[in-house]
């Protein structure tokens, strides 16, 4: 079958690889009908995430049709149309049972590696380096899904792939980011990053009762999308003191909730970013945390900083004194997708949400190398690319 393989920094190739096979009795094989490129795939593309091996298959946002199931998988049959969560969870451990699915104890075969880095390992992920299990991803014609009796959800006919595909990752991510903000009536929510996760965070914030949402980015089409589809007020951060602007826009108080939907590759030519890039060149630090710093500075006293944006390693020079002095609450982590898929699917079925608005490009799987480059460089007003393996 054909699959998108990581071959090095800025190098992905579509290659012929063996078909997946069932490896345990709880596996299933899915024929992929649609798969997307995620902003966090770009961290892999850019070489920011260690423990990648040439030949690793990428992709953690995918959906399709069940073609084969292991003996223990009773709830799925060949022919079922399913969306698959990007984190792999067993459903039996303490964390799964508490709804903390992305912290599953049992789904990372390389847990020892993650433990060496982080102290404890969370769930394995599709297509996201050998720290998270090295699982083959879904930017391919077929994919093996472990614990298939726990993860995939069936989706009804009558909804297009583009309407439900994002249940796999970015829609629950945006929603959980907003939910983690503990939004109260009258709250003003600031969202850094108007990529697809930011867009869904903006919409979710309103769904959860925010009074106003302010979105921050520098890419014109993304700011426009936040205004048009998200009904957000926008700040273009080029040449603007974001913290000051937010203070002015919030009656001098600062936003009640600050959402960092950018993560470890914060852009821009700020002094701290240049410092970090220099250190990164010397292999001294890994993460670029400009947005996190701004969020801490901008947030009102006693407010909440919600972090869906991915961080991987160490962050330097964090204003932790400010965070402490203002009594901030931090909530973060990989999304517990399993928790949100059904409720969000119901909202989509009822017409309260249509996530397909973020899709700007639909291409063939074979165009993946070009798609990655375009997505990375904001070319052609690219915001979200969906790949079709069979066109």
């Amino acid at each position: 079958m054909r699959a998108v393989c990581w071959r090095g920094k800025y190098d992905v190739q579509v290659e012929n690889v063996p078909d997946p096979m069932l490896l345990t009795s709880r596996d299933a094989i899915i024929k992929v009908t649609s798969t997307a490129i995620c902003g966090s795939d770009l961290h892999l593309y850019d070489g920011f995430i260690p423990a990648m091996m040439p030949g690793d298959i990428l992709g953690h946002e995918f959906m399709g049709e069940v073609v084969m199931v292991g003996d223990e998988v009773q709830n799925l049959r060949p022919g079922d149309r399913v969306v698959v969560p990007f984190a792999i969870a067993c459903g039996n451990c303490y964390f799964c049972q508490k709804g903390l699915w992305s912290l599953c104890d049992n789904s990372n075969p390389n847990a020892a590696v993650a433990e060496g880095l982080y102290g404890y390992s969370g769930a394995g992920l599709f297509g996201y380096s050998h720290i998270y299990g090295g699982y083959a991803g879904g930017q391919a014609e077929y994919v093996r899904v472990p614990f298939a009796d726990t993860g995939p959800i069936k989706v009804p006919e009558g909804l297009r792939d583009e309407q439900v595909l994002f249940l796999s990752d970015i829609l629950p991510t945006g929603y959980m980011a907003a939910e983690n903000g503990n939004i109260q009536p009258g709250d003003i929510v600031a969202v850094w990053g108007c990529g697809p996760v930011g867009q869904f965070a903006i919409q979710s914030a309103y769904l959860l009762g925010a009074e106003r949402v302010i979105a921050i980015d520098h890419v014109p089409e993304r700011l426009r999308m936040a205004q048009e589809y998200g009904r957000a007020e926008v700040i273009d951060f080029r040449g603007v003191d974001v913290v000051e602007a937010l203070r002015e826009m919030t009656g001098g108080r600062g936003p009640d909730v600050c959402i960092d939907a950018v993560g470890l590759e914060a852009e821009g030519h700020h002094l701290d970013t240049l410092y970090e890039r220099a250190r990164h060149a010397l292999l001294l630090t890994t993460d670029l945390a400009h947005v996190l710093r701004e969020a801490i500075q901008a947030c009102r006293k006693g407010g909440t900083v919600s972090i869906p944006g991915v961080y991987g390693g160490l962050v330097d020079k964090l204003p932790f004194g400010a965070a402490f002095g203002k009594g901030l609450t931090f909530r973060m982590g990989q999304t517990h997708v399993h928790r949100y898929m059904r409720p969000l699917l119901e909202r989509i079925e009822r017409g309260e949400l249509d996530p397909s608005f973020v899709v700007t490009h639909v291409m063939s799987l074979d165009d993946a190398p070009y798609a990655y480059e375009m997505f990375k460089n904001y070319q052609d007003e690219c915001i979200k690319v969906v790949l079709k393996p069979s066109s």
Binding site: C5, R7, R26, I57, D105, G134
Partner: protein
Amino acid sequence: MTHMPQTVTRQTVNVGQNERLVSILAGTALIIRTLARPSRAALLTLAGGGYLLYRGLTGHCLIYEQMEISRAGKQGQAGIQVERTMTVNKPRPEVYQFWRNFENFPSFMQHLKSVQVLDERRSRWEAKAPFDRTVEWEAEIYEEVENERIAWRSLPGSQVENRGIVEFRDAPGGRGTEVHVSLKYNPPGGSASAAIAYLFGEAPAQQVRDDLRRFKQVIETGVVATVTGQTSGRVEQVEREREEIRERRRIDVVQEASEESFPASDAPAWVSGPTL
């Protein structure tokens, strides 16, 4: 139920007497030489000499500590000792019963080929040793308290001297069972071969930790999390891994069929297994 007593790590002597002497002499010589004839690598050789002196004088080698081996013979504790605690999301009796049936061990202890229970206390074990060797030994359970504790040791004259104690405690707040395992063994070939095995990636302590993790996976989920045999762009590796899986399945099928026929003397005429 009270807490497990905390194990406090103290600096143990893990270097043998003769080796300590050699270390002191070598360290001193290196330092003197570096000071007399400084070279570009002076800092390195000074540090190296200093470290050799340190480990000779104190008897404690940090590298050996990392590898969890001891060459101290009578003074220290020879062999390998591994302790680890893990919480399993199952009730204590269930966890105890699963562990008590030693024949379950190969399902999560990757270095074991088989365990055969002979009677209430005795069992015969077969394990893979470094460099593709196999070792066998018999063990006996010398102490057990139902749902609380199992202690076993290899019988005298075994190829691999080993002993183990596993204890089961309720985890607080309905979290299941805390399993505390303490294993001690002298690997075949003594601690020198353990050092070599470590360098080649077969570290026993790491193996035990991974075994415990697989134990938790099997008892909680029914399967071991794996990516071996999955597809990727590394086609040769995929083929190799799948061939190993096919081979293992063939062996399982033959074994099952042999056990069905009695006496189990000849393998069945057909040997092909389920196709991939």
